[in-house]
C-alpha cells in the first residue's frame, strides 16, 4: 500500500513536471519535521528521488543537496553522503554546516582523521554547537590510541558539556575517556552522573559496573547491575506501548545486564550463578555472542563437555573469524578424546590467525602427545615465524628438538625463549636440560640461573629439586 502511495505521489510530481524549487519543496513536505529514519522505505525513496531531481535541475540549489545527503545518511549510505557533502564544501567553502555533516558521514565510515578535520573546519566556520563538539570528541576518542587524542577528546567533550550540561551520553563518553587516561575516580564520578541522568541506558550502567569491578568495588558493581533490571523492565513496558524507535536511546537491553552480572559472578567463582545469568542473557539476546564463550568456559570448567562444545560452536558460528573460538573447540574435543576433531579445530584456528600463537601451541602439544614429533616441529617452527616474540613457542620447539635428539637446534630455540623472557624459570629449565647432553659447563650455568629464578616459586618445587640434584651431580663430576 505504501508503495502504491509512493508511486501515486511520484506520478503526480512527474505529471506536473516540477521545477527544482518545487521538487525540493515536495521533498521537504514529504519529510515534514519527522526524523528521517522514521520515514517508511517508500517515503525515503521518494524523498530521495525528489531531492535528486531538484539537485539535477538546479545544481545551485544547495539545500536540495543537503537534503539528499541527509537521506543517504539516514539509510547508512555514508559513502554517497560524503560525496555530496564534499561537493557542498567545494561549492560553499565558508559553510560550517557542510563541514559538520561531512564529518559525520566520514566518522560513520570509520574515517575519523578526515572527520576530525571536517569537524574542526566546521568549528572554525562558526558551527560551535554542543553536538559538533561531542562528535569531535567521538572522533578524537576513536583515534585515542594516541594519548594526545584522548586529551583532545576530553577537551572536546568538556566544551560540549559546557554548552549543554544535561547530555548524559556526552558525560558518559567523557567518562570513558577519563578511564582510558587512567583517571578512574573522575571516570566513575562522571559515569555515575551520566547514569543518574539516563538510568535506562544499559551501556552506561554496564560500563559503570565494570569501573566498579575494576576498582574492587564489587558490591557497587552488583548493585548497579541489579538496579538496572528494574529500570529495564519498565523501559520494556514503555517500549511495548509503542513509543517507537526514537525513545530507544537508552539502549535498554536486559541481556547486557545479565551478561555483566554473569561476568561478575564468574570472576567471583560462582559458576552456577554466572551460568544462570549468561543463560538469561542468551535468551534475552541470542546475538550477544560473548555470552556463548562464557557459557562454554563454565560448562567446560564444570565438566559438561557436550554443553561446552555446543556453546563454543555457537560462539564460533557467530564469530567465524575468531581463532580463539576454534582453540576452545579444539580443547574440548581433545578432552573428549576426539583428537582428530581437535586437530581440525586447532588447524582452523591457525588459519584464522592463530590466536596469538595459542593455536599452534595446542596443535603442537597434541602432536607431541601423539608422538608425531616431526609434525610438532613443523607447527612450532611456522608459528615462531608468525609470532617471533612468543617465548613459549620457542621453548616448545626447543623441547621437541631435544626429544628428537637435535640438540643444537634445541639449544638455539631454547636460548631464544630465554632471550625473549629471561625471567621465566621454566625456559631456563628446558635449556639446562638440553645442555646436559651437550655442554656440562653451560648446563651448570643454566641450572644455577634456573634455581635462582625458581627458588621462591612454589609451583617450581619439583623441578627445583631436580635441578639441585643435577647441579650437585654435575659439580661432583667437575
Amino acid at each position: 500500500m505504501k508503495g502504491l502511495t509512493a508511486i501515486a505521489l511520484l506520478l503526480a510530481g512527474c505529471v506536473t513536471e516540477p521545477d527544482a524549487p518545487t521538487a525540493y519543496r515536495q521533498a521537504q513536505e514529504l519529510i515534514g519535521d519527522r526524523p528521517l529514519r522514521s520515514l517508511s522505505q517508500a517515503e525515503l525513496a521518494q524523498a530521495e528521488r525528489l531531492a535528486a531531481q531538484a539537485r539535477t535541475l538546479d545544481p545551485e540549489l544547495h539545500e536540495a543537496t543537503f537534503t539528499l545527503a541527509a537521506l543517504y545518511t539516514a539509510r547508512g549510505a555514508y559513502e554517497d553522503a560524503t560525496a555530496l557533502y564534499r561537493s557542498l564544501v567545494e561549492a560553499r567553502p565558508d559553510d560550517g554546516r557542510a563541514y559538520a555533516e561531512l564529518g559525520l558521514s566520514l566518522a560513520a565510515q570509520g574515517r575519523y582523521s578526515g572527520a576530525l578535520r571536517a569537524y574542526q573546519d566546521a568549528v572554525r566556520r562558526g558551527e560551535k554547537s554542543a553536538l559538533i563538539y561531542a562528535r569531535l570528541g567521538h572522533a578524537y576518542q576513536a583515534l585515542g590510541h594516541l594519548q594526545e587524542n584522548l586529551h583532545a577528546a576530553q577537551a572536546a567533550y568538556r566544551a560540549s558539556l559546557q554548552l549543554a550540561p544535561e547530555q548524559a551520553e556526552v558525560r558518559y563518553q567523557l567518562a570513558r575517556v577519563e578511564a582510558r587516561l587512567g583517571r578512574d575516580e573522575e571516570a566513575r564520578t562522571l559515569m555515575e552522573q551520566a547514569l543518574d541522568a539516563a538510568p535506562n541506558d544499559t551501556g552506561i550502567r554496564a560500563d559503570l559496573a565494570a569501573l566498579y569491578r575494576e576498582a574492587g568495588q564489587r558490591e557497587l558493581a552488583r548493585a548497579a547491575l541489579v538496579e538496572g533490571f528494574d529500570g529495564s523492565a519498565k523501559l520494556a513496558e514503555r517500549l511495548s506501548s509503542a513509543e517507537g524507535l526514537a525513545t530507544r536511546d537508552g539502549d535498554g537491553e536486559e541481556s547486557v545486564l545479565h551478561y555483566e552480572l554473569g561476568r561478575l559472578l564468574w570472576e567471583e567463582g560462582d559458576g552456577a550463578g554466572a551460568l544462570a545469568q549468561f543463560e538469561r542473557a542468551r535468551i534475552a539476546d541470542p546475538d550477544l555472542y560473548p555470552v556463548y564463550r562464557y557459557l562454554g568456559l563454565i560448562h567446560s570448567a564444570e565438566g559438561r563437555l557436550d554443553s561446552a562444545l555446543a556453546a563454543f560452536a555457537e560462539f564460533a558460528n557467530r564469530q567465524p573469524g575468531n581463532a580463539a573460538a576454534q582453540v576452545s573447540i579444539g580443547i574440548v574435543h581433545s578432552r573428549m578424546g576426539a583428537l582428530d576433531a581437535a586437530e581440525e579445530a586447532f588447524k582452523a584456528a591457525i588459519e584464522l590467525g592463530g590466536a596469538e600463537g595459542d593455536a599452534a601451541l595446542k596443535l603442537g602439544g597434541l602432536y607431541v602427545h601423539q608422538r608425531r614429533l616431526r609434525a610438532a616441529v613443523q607447527v612450532f617452527k611456522e608459528a615462531t615465524v608468525a609470532h617471533p616474540h612468543h617465548a613459549e613457542l620457542f621453548a616448545s620447539l626447543g623441547d621437541v628438538y631435544r626429544q628428537l635428539g637435535l640438540l643444537a637446534a634445541a639449544v638455539q630455540a631454547g636460548a631464544e625463549a630465554v632471550r625473549l623472557e629471561p625471567e621465566r624459570a621454566l625456559w631456563r629449565f628446558h635449556l639446562a636440560s638440553t645442555y646436559e647432553r651437550l655442554d656440562p659447563d653451560q648446563a651448570r650455568a643454566e641450572w644455577r640461573a634456573y634455581a635462582s629464578l625458581a627458588e621462591d616459586d612454589a609451583s617450581e618445587a619439583q623441578r627445583l629439586a631436580h635441578a639441585r640434584s643435577r647441579l650437585q651431580t654435575l659439580q661432583q663430576e667437575e
Binding site: 531531481q53 545544481p59 539516514a74 539509510r75 560513520a108 574515517r111 572536546a156 524507535l245
Partner: protein, 728 residues
C-alpha cells in the same frame, strides 16, 4: 548504493539519467531532459523497480537503530543491532555491510573485512562495501606508517595493492612504505609502475627524482623543476651528527643563548616528545637536559629565550599545547649557572591554551619583559591569546583583555616590531586560515586594531608563520607571512616556476613608512607555494642584505619537502639559493634558527626536523656556515635601564652605502628565534661608519668608526671602550 530502500540496478539507471542531465547547459536541453527524466522515472516506477528491496520491519528497525548508535559512537550496541539484522535476514547484504563497518571501526579488521566480503558476495553491486575493504587496507597501512610500524604498514598496503593493483592510492602508499623502510629499489620500481599508470600526479615524479638523486642514480628527468636557481658565494656543511645535536624526534623549535655564561651559545631544542638542552663545548655539544633541570618529557611546540628577571642570564619559556594537548606552558628560570627551575606556577605564566608561538617584548617600556602568547587551533579549535605583563617581582598577570589584544582566532604565530616608528612595540598576529591582525601600541598600555588601515590582513592566503625584517634596508620593518600549502600545489608551482594558485604563496609586506604596507611578494620573487611551517631572517652571506630561510613540510607521511633559502639580491628581489648553499634537506622542518655558534662571524643554521605523527621522526639538521667571504659585525646588547636583553632595541648600522636596520626580538615564527645577538653583514666594508641604538628606555647610543669582524657588547648608556667590547 547498497541501501535497504532502493534496488541497486534501478538506482544506477537513475543516476545515469541524472548524470546525463547535469551535463546539459542550455534551457532547451534542460527542458528536454526534464521530459526524458519524467518518462524514465515513470517507466521505472511502473515497472516496479522503485519498490523497496523488501526488508522486514524488524530488520529495518534494528538497522536504523544500529545506524543511530554508530553515529553516536555507541559501537557495542550498534554491533548488536546489526548482528541482529544478519540473524533476521541472512541473505541481506546490508546487515553484513554495516556490521562489517562497525567491526572495522572497532579495530577488528579481519572480521570486518570478512563481513564486507560476505556483503559483496551477496550483492556484487554493493560497491561501497568493496571500496571500504580497499580503504581499510589503505587506511590501516597509512595509520601504521604514522605510528612508525613500518612492517605492519607494508603488510596492509600490499593487501591494498592486491585488491587494486593499478590504483593510484595503492601504488602511491606502497611506494611511500618502501621509502620509509629504506627499500629504495622497490620504492623506485613501484614509482616507475605508478608513473606509467598515472602520469599526471606530480608527487610520484617528485619522489622518484629525489630517490634517484639520493641514490646517485642518473635522474630520469621525470620531474621538470622550473624554479630558477640562484647562486651564492659560499656553502654550508651538515654536521648534526658530528656536533651531537642530531636529536631524533618530531622536531619543533629551537632557541640559542649562552645559558651557562661560558662565552658561547648553547642550544635548547623542543621536540615531540621531549625538550633537550645542548651545552656548547666547542667542536661538539653535550646533551645536559637532566643535569640542568630543563626537563619537559611531554615536550611542546615553541621555545623562547629571554632574561625576564633582568638578572643577567637567559631564561626559557616553552609553549606546549599547540595541536597536541601537552599541558600548560612552562617558564624556566636560570640560576646564573645554567641550571633551571620551573617557575611556571609562581610566575603565573602557565597558560593552558592551545599555544604555539610566544613573543617577548617590553610593551609598556617599564624595563621588564612581557610575553604575548598566540593560542590557536587546539582540540576544540578555539583559543584566546594572552598578554602576560611582567610585574617586576617575578610574577606576571594577563592583561590581554584590558590591553585590547585578547584576540580569538587560529593564531599560530606572532611578532613584535615598531612598525610605525613611534618607539612603542606593535604586535602582529598570524592566524591560520583567518585574517591576520596588526595591533598598534598606543603607548598607554592599550592597543588598537590597525589591520585594515595598514593593509596587512593577508586574508587571501593561509598564513602559518610570521616574522619581521627590513628586507630593503630602508629603515622600516617589513612583515613576512609564511604560507602552508598543500603538497600538490607546492609541486605544481615548482614545475610551473611560478604561483599557480591564488591562495598559495607567502606574503611579503613592504612597510611604506607611513603606516601602510604593500604586498610586494610577486615583485620580490617570492610568489610560489611552499609548505612553510617556520622561517627566520638572517644575512647568510653577510652581504648586507637580509636573506630568508624557510622550514617546510607537512604532516602527511608521504610529504618530503626541502627547506628553502631565499637569497636577497639587494635589488628588492630574492632568488632560491638553496641548492647552491648546500641546504635543502628533505623532510619537514619546524622551528629553524640562525646563530653564530662557533663565533666565526657567519650564521649557522639549526633545523628541528620531524612531523606530527609518532612515526614521522627525523634527525634534526645542523648546518655550519663555511663562510661567504664578507665582513661582519655581531652586536650583543645589554640593557641597563631597559630590559637586560635589550629586546625591542632598534639598531641601525651604516657602512659605506649600506644602511641596515634590525630590532632585537625573541619569539616569532613557529615559536622559535635566532640568537639575541644581532648579526650585520658588511659586504666588503671593513668598518661600520656609524652604529645607532635606540633603547626601549628612550636612551640613544651612537658608536662611530667601528672596525668590522668583531663581536661587540653594547651596554646601554656606555661607550664602546667601557662596554667590554670583544674583538676577535
Amino acid at each position: 548504493m547498497g541501501a535497504p530502500s532502493i534496488g541497486e540496478g534501478c538506482q544506477k539507471r537513475r543516476n545515469n539519467v541524472l548524470e546525463i542531465d547535469s551535463r546539459q547547459k542550455t534551457a532547451d536541453v534542460v527542458s528536454s531532459m526534464r521530459i526524458l527524466l519524467v518518462t524514465t522515472l515513470s517507466i521505472l516506477v511502473l515497472s516496479g523497480c522503485q519498490e523497496p528491496a523488501g526488508r522486514s520491519e524488524a530488520f529495518l528497525q534494528s538497522y536504523y537503530r544500529g545506524l543511530d548508535l554508530l553515529e553516536r559512537y555507541r559501537l557495542r550496541a550498534a554491533e548488536r543491532a546489526f548482528a541482529h539484522c544478519v540473524r533476521l535476514e541472512p541473505d541481506a547484504a546490508e546487515g553484513y555491510w554495516q556490521l562489517g563497518r562497525v567491526r572495522l571501526v572497532q579495530g577488528r579488521i579481519e572480521e570486518g573485512v570478512g563481513l564486507l566480503e560476505q556483503a559483496t558476495t551477496l550483492d556484487p553491486e554493493l560497491t561501497a562495501a568493496r571500496s571500504l575493504v580497499l580503504e581499510t587496507f589503505l587506511g590501516r597501512g597509512k595509520e601504521a606508517l604514522e605510528e612508525g610500524q613500518f612492517e605492519q604498514a607494508e603488510n596492509y598496503l600490499q593487501r591494498a595493492l592486491a585488491v587494486n593493483p593499478e590504483g593510484y592510492e595503492s601504488l602511491y602508499w606502497a611506494a611511500i612504505a618502501a621509502l620509509w623502510q629504506e627499500d629504495y629499489a622497490r620504492a623506485d620500481s613501484i614509482l616507475q609502475q605508478a608513473i606509467a599508470l598515472h602520469p599526471e600526479p606530480l608527487e610520484l615524479r617528485w619522489h622518484r627524482k629525489w630517490l634517484q638523486e639520493a641514490l646517485g642514480w642518473s635522474a630520469t628527468g621525470e620531474f621538470a623543476d622550473a624554479v630558477p636557481q640562484g647562486t651564492i658565494s659560499g656553502r654550508f656543511s651538515e654536521i648534526s651528527a658530528e656536533a651531537g645535536v642530531d636529536k631524533f624526534d618530531g622536531g619543533r623549535a629551537s632557541a640559542w643563548a649562552d645559558y651557562d655564561e661560558d662565552g658561547d651559545l648553547d642550544l635548547v631544542v623542543i621536540g615531540h616528545p621531549a625538550l633537550a638542552y645542548f651545552r656548547n663545548d666547542g667542536a661538539r655539544f653535550a646533551e645536559r637536559t637532566q643535569a640542568v633541570g630543563l626537563v619537559l618529557p611531554e615536550g611542546g611546540i615553541g621555545v623562547q629565550t629571554a632574561d625576564y628577571d633582568n638578572d643577567g642570564d637567559a631564561d626559557v619559556y616553552v609553549t606546549r599545547d599547540g595541536w597536541f594537548g601537552g599541558g600548560v606552558n612552562a617558564l624556566f628560570q636560570n640560576d646564573g649557572r645554567g641550571v633551571f627551575a620551573d617557575v611556571t606556577e609562581v610566575s603565573g605564566t602557565g597558560d593552558p591554551g592551545s599555544s604555539f608561538c610566544a613573543a617577548w617584548s617590553d610593551f609598556d617600556r617599564d624595563g621588564y619583559l612581557d610575553i604575548y602568547v598566540a593560542n590557536g587551533t587546539g582540540a576544540t579549535g578555539d583559543s584566546t591569546n594572552v598578554l602576560y605583563r611582567n610585574q617586576g617581582d617575578g610574577t606576571f598577570v594577563d592583561v590581554a583583555e584590558a590591553a585590547g589584544v585578547a584576540h580569538k582566532g587560529q593564531a599560530l604565530s606572532t611578532a613584535w616590531g615598531d612598525f610605525d616608528g613611534d618607539s612603542w612595540p606593535d604586535l602582529y598576529v598570524c592566524n591560520f586560515t583567518e585574517p591576520n591582525v596588526l595591533f598598534r601600541n598606543r603607548g598607554d598600555g592599550t592597543f588598537v586594531d590597525q589591520t585594515a588601515a595598514a593593509g596587512v590582513s593577508a586574508e587571501y592566503i593561509d598564513g602559518f608563520i610570521t616574522f619581521v625584517l627590513d628586507y630593503d634596508n630602508d629603515g622600516a620593518l617589513d612583515i613576512f607571512v609564511g604560507n602552508w600549502s598543500q603538497y600538490p600545489v607546492v609541486l605544481a608551482d615548482r614545475v610551473a616556476g611560478k604561483s599557480t594558485s591564488e591562495r598559495d604563496r607567502p606574503v611579503l609586506f613592504r612597510n611604506g613608512g607611513d603606516g601602510t604596507f604593500a604586498d610586494v611578494t610577486e615583485a620580490a620573487g617570492l610568489g610560489r607555494a611552499l609548505g612553510t611551517m617556520s622561517g627566520v631572517p638572517g644575512d647568510v652571506d653577510n652581504d648586507g642584505w637580509v636573506d630568508i630561510y624557510l622550514g617546510n613540510g607537512g604532516p602527511q607521511m608521504g610529504r618530503r619537502e626541502p627547506d628553502v633559502l631565499f637569497r636577497n639580491r639587494g635589488d628588492g628581489t630574492f632568488v632560491d639559493a638553496t641548492a647552491a648553499a648546500g641546504l635543502g634537506h628533505l623532510g619537514k622542518s619546524h622551528g629553524v634558527t640562525f646563530a653564530d655558534y662557533d663565533r666565526d662571524g657567519d650564521l649557522d643554521l639549526y633545523a628541528p626536523v620531524g612531523g606530527a605523527q609518532p612515526g614521522d621522526q627525523w634527525p634534526n639538521a645542523f648546518y655550519r656556515s663555511e663562510g661567504f667571504g664578507n665582513h661582519y659585525l655581531v652586536l650583543e646588547l645589554e640593557g641597563v635601564e631597559s630590559n637586560r636583553d635589550g629586546i625591542g632595541a632598534k639598531v641601525w648600522v651604516y657602512a659605506g652605502d649600506l644602511m641596515q636596520y634590525q630590532e632585537v626580538a625573541s619569539g616569532y615564527s613557529f615559536g622559535n628565534s635566532n640568537s639575541l645577538e644581532l648579526e650585520f653583514g658588511l659586504g666588503q666594508q671593513v668598518r661600520a661608519d656609524r652604529i645607532k641604538v635606540a633603547w626601549p628606555s628612550g636612551q640613544v647610543d651612537e658608536y662611530r668608526d667601528v672596525e668590522a669582524d668583531q663581536h661587540l657588547l653594547l651596554r646601554e648608556g656606555f661607550d664602546l671602550s667601557s662596554a667590554e667590547g670583544e674583538t676577535q
